[in-house]
């Protein structure tokens, strides 16, 4: 069963509002095994809406339409639908009565312009609105079952849940789409894609695809099966295959974040050690971002107790004891300096691990030797690894460079806690 999701509104085509209804509806449809093939967004223009609905109805089994059911002159969806169906709009007395009661409950008088919200095309089925005044509609146009709902997310969602989901779930016949996303950091998308190889074959079920967001390369597994149990089993099996090819590169799934995973590992190690292990930070170019990431996680106070933001040379000396002569000789963005920052941060804080970062986030400050994006990261920790340092060159603007540097620092700590080598 195929579906197209249609959103209607000038504010959407003008880009003044980001359409979140379509994504929400699509996720719900996937859950009940309906295959969304397209989204369409059209302006508050009666002819344009009519044309879009006609086109959509010819190309799918189900159309979920939202928007354009308000009481004002720019709300034209019901008129367009009536015109497409070649029938007049008629007042739905049941809903009109409900609207009067609704306004009475608010202690307000209904104004004349609201009357239109009780009008639906002759022959359409009215859908009750449990949190607003616009009636929804269900119609059939050729082979297409079309549901028309308000654009207000709350009203649309309530209408979908109370009326639409049931009918479609029964009709879709039980096939479901389940998804899982594996997250990686450190290798580029093409490199991850090569490792996944034939798993990314377009005809495969479960399908495997990659996306990138804020430097995180994610592997999305979509499984489409008749039953939920089979879909779950198949997701597990494909997850396992992906991990065989990517190894420790996969740091988490779905909603898991890198800081969560790192603190989780620290917690496991603490349990094994019989005492709470902690981490400290000394940050120059990331300016507090690593500390921010670590403290994003509820309960992080058990593992992260302190950090220094040492953004200038003299504060590197004053707060974390980097010798001024070392800064003069090697520059702030250098291996000796980050090693010293990490070591001293660990010793001063009595933490078990310390991360230190110094780099050139730009846009200025780059040189031929040390271009913008050059970042030294050091990790101090227990023997035998002790203090390790790596140089990276991150690409992008200031924000991206800082973000990638902070994530890479966390990744270095993650691999250390795993006792594994970084594959890059």
């Amino acid at each position: 069963m195929t579906a197209i999701v249609v959103s209607i509104g000038d504010e959407l085509v003008l880009g003044q509002t980001v359409d979140t209804n379509s994504a929400w509806l699509s996720r719900r449809l996937a859950e009940i095994g309906v295959d969304v093939i397209e989204h369409a967004t059209v302006a508050d223009d009666q002819l344009g809406i009519e044309r879009a609905l006609r086109d959509v109805a010819a190309r799918c089994d189900v159309a979920l339409v939202s928007g354009g059911l308000g009481p004002t002159a720019d709300d034209l969806t019901r008129q367009a639908l009536a015109s497409l169906m070649q029938v007049p709009l008629e007042l739905n007395e049941a809903w009109f009565g409900e609207m009067h009661a609704f306004f009475a409950r608010l202690g307000r008088t209904m104004v004349e312009s609201n009357r239109i919200q009780a009008m639906i095309p002759r022959g359409a089925e009215m859908i009750w609105n449990t949190c607003g005044t616009a009636a929804g509609m269900a119609v059939r146009i050729g082979r297409c079952r079309m549901f028309v709902m308000p654009g207000v997310p709350k009203e649309m969602k309530a209408m979908f849940e109370s009326r639409v989901r049931g009918e479609l779930g029964d009709a879709a016949g039980g096939s479901v789409i389940l998804s899982r996303t594996l997250h990686t950091f450190g290798l580029g998308e093409s490199n991850v894609g090569e490792r996944l190889g034939d798993l990314m074959d377009r005809r495969r079920n479960p399908s495997v695809g990659t996306t990138v967001s804020a430097g995180v390369v994610s592997i999305r597994i979509n499984a489409r099966y008749a039953g939920i149990d089979e879909a779950r089993r198949q997701i597990e099996a494909t997850d396992e295959l992906c991990r065989q090819r990517l190894g420790a590169l996969v740091y988490g799934i779905d909603e898991q974040t890198l800081p969560q995973v790192v603190l989780g590992l620290l917690k496991e190690r603490s349990a094994a050690a019989g005492r709470g292990l902690t981490v400290a930070t000394a940050e120059s170019c990331t300016g507090g971002l690593i500390a921010k990431y670590l403290t994003d996680v509820p309960g992080s106070s058990a593992f992260f107790r302190q950090g220094w933001v040492v953004y200038s040379n003299d504060t590197k000396t004053q707060l974390v004891g980097v010798p001024a002569a070392m800064l003069r000789e090697h520059g702030a963005v250098s291996e000796p300096v980050v090693r010293c920052m990490a070591t001293n941060a660990m010793l001063m804080s009595e933490a078990d691990f310390a991360l230190a970062v110094s780099g050139i986030a730009g846009p200025d400050g780059g040189t031929a030797d040390k271009p913008v994006g050059t970042v030294w990261i050091a990790l101090a920790g227990d023997e035998p690894a002790g203090v390790t340092a790596r140089r990276f060159v991150f690409v992008g603007d200031r924000e991206m460079i800082r973000d990638r540097a902070a994530k890479m620092a966390l990744t270095m700590l993650r691999y250390r806690l795993l006792g594994a080598e970084m594959p890059f």
Copy 2:
């Protein structure tokens, strides 16, 4: 001139990612007088993409397409475009060379699968990508000018700005929509709306509307006029009217951020004082976020030299000298403690101002007296104001509470630098 915006990607039609590209592109098109009539979102399916592009090309003057240009097997936009044009894909040598240089700068070897990103349909014009590896394309299909760009927002935006905007702006010629956004922080949307009053009348031109994002209440002014000069004048006039009603609450416009504005004020004060004024931070619940915000701004090293992240009680004592007895008596989330943190941070760093924050970000740790969201913020600075402290209760989840607390700290500093009273 009419336009349709097309987004391509399974993650979009499945609702796993919300499409923000379409809204961004639509706003840019409105600015140059191009009339967006529709958005379309299609899955990573070659035939589906080809069908959509054919349909779109028949119905508008300009199509802006993004997505499906990655290096992996599920990226099929260029193949669909070539098929629609009935031409083969060809390697663009200039871009392929650029890609090699790109990977060389990263110190990485380009893998074979990246080669596809330099392939474009024969006869298409290549658009340079200044922040990624996928070449963009410009083609003409019948009466429709079509630009094809990567789905990664940063790459798409850079490509639009560097190549597409100029061509379309020249061609559009007609009436223009100019927008300006004024940003405020501290008062709620309804309160800002009340102050704006009749300026928000729907029939007004320029129109005035409010939106909220991450605690920032923004006032969007849209002016639709025949000429750009008139639109500019009208935007200025409405901007002035908004500021008359909102006063110092407006901290910036358009792309300006709160940290930028605060550092800008510090720079002005420094120029007046004849020496560089600086700010330091001592953060508990915000965990480095204020430092991160300040160092988001290029050149911030002149004003922000150091910060402490003191996430536990004992580090508050060790690093910024909060007496243990004070912590025992008043608790970490208290006025005496944040005052002490701010004062000591200012003295120890020899900075001119210091911000200190201590609060309960949740989800745990709240009490009847100090519910989750309770945050004490102190600002230490020059006399006569000296050290001031305020208690806030922020609403939302952990991330929201931390974000609002950091923004409120910056707002306190902003009002201090303006020499004005906060209106909340």
